[in-house]
């Protein structure tokens, strides 16, 4: 992230969030302060809802839910795919609504229209420069039907050790969000809302 922007210039602020292992809604925000004294500060925020395999009511199945390119140094995989199955009885339109700018070589859906019971594939291909990097990114997809409207985010990662990943998924209800840039990151948040053993 650039710390200084010339007139007409732009940059990106990356926000990273670790979702607790639960199915509750989450809202978080961060404050961006600049030398624009007229505007003061700007709040950026996000929301999301935990999605567990056991959740009922969601008429989509995504498998796997996370695209994991494995540990660093192992056989290089450059592309992975997740299957998205329509469990509803209505036709859905699929679209990719978000993925990291200039990070992946390719992010695409095998089909835009998903009939009841049918499956589409979300394909992610890495840039050559990112093949040996450790990263945690994500791709957000929207599925719209006549009455159903889902948005879901598929984490895409590499170099995240399974033990670490498993530790992160322990349902401690610990949530953390951090905002980071290419070189510097600002930790966003770590709140422990609920007591252990609840």
């Amino acid at each position: 992230m650039k710390k200084e922007l010339a007139v007409g210039d732009s940059t990106w602020i990356e926000l990273i969030y670790t979702m607790g292992k639960h199915s509750r809604e989450t809202h978080k925000s961060a404050r961006v302060t600049t030398n624009d004294t007229l505007t003061g500060f700007i709040n950026i925020s996000f929301q999301g809802k935990g999605w567990l395999d056991s959740d009922s009511g969601v008429m989509l199945n995504v498998n796997p839910q996370t695209l994991d390119f494995g540990p660093l140094g192992e056989k290089r995989r450059t592309k992975l795919e997740a299957k998205i199955k329509n469990l509803s009885e209505e036709k859905m339109q699929l679209s990719i609504v978000d993925y990291p700018p200039e990070f992946f070589k390719e992010v695409k859906l095998s089909r835009d229209e998903l009939k009841p019971g049918k499956t589409a594939k979300l394909k992610v291909r890495l840039e050559r420069e990112t093949e040996d990097q450790r990263f945690q990114k994500s791709v957000t997809v929207e599925a719209k039907g006549d009455t159903l409207n889902y948005r879901f985010t598929v984490p895409v990662q590499k170099g995240i050790e399974s033990k670490v990943a498993a530790k992160k998924t322990v349902p401690t209800d610990k949530k953390e969000a951090e905002v980071k840039s290419d070189q510097k990151k600002a930790e966003a948040e770590s709140d422990k809302k609920e007591a252990e053993g609840k």
């Binding site: 926000l15 990273i16 979702m19 624009d36 925020s45 996000f46 567990l52 969601v58 879901f152």
Partner: protein, 71 residues
């Protein structure tokens, strides 16, 4: 009469020039985040997700990002 008109014309031009120079010197940065709110939708429990917010300088002076902190 012609001299008076000429004098007034020069005066107006001079004033406009001064105003322009003043405005150029008194440039202001203007921050814009076109999409400050983001909806991840459903997120697999226990996973890590990320999103990039675009930040632009729409002003007439250098914009400095001083901090990004939890709200």
């Amino acid at each position: 009469m012609k001299r008076l008109i000429l004098f007034c014309g020069v005066l107006v031009l001079l004033t406009l020039g001064l105003v322009f120079v003043y405005q150029a010197q008194a440039g202001e940065p203007k921050v814009l985040i076109p999409e400050p709110r983001w909806d991840f939708g459903l997120i697999p429990g226990g996973s890590v997700v990320s999103h990039y917010y675009l930040i632009k300088n729409m002003g007439t002076d250098v914009l400095k990002i001083e901090s990004v902190r939890p709200g």
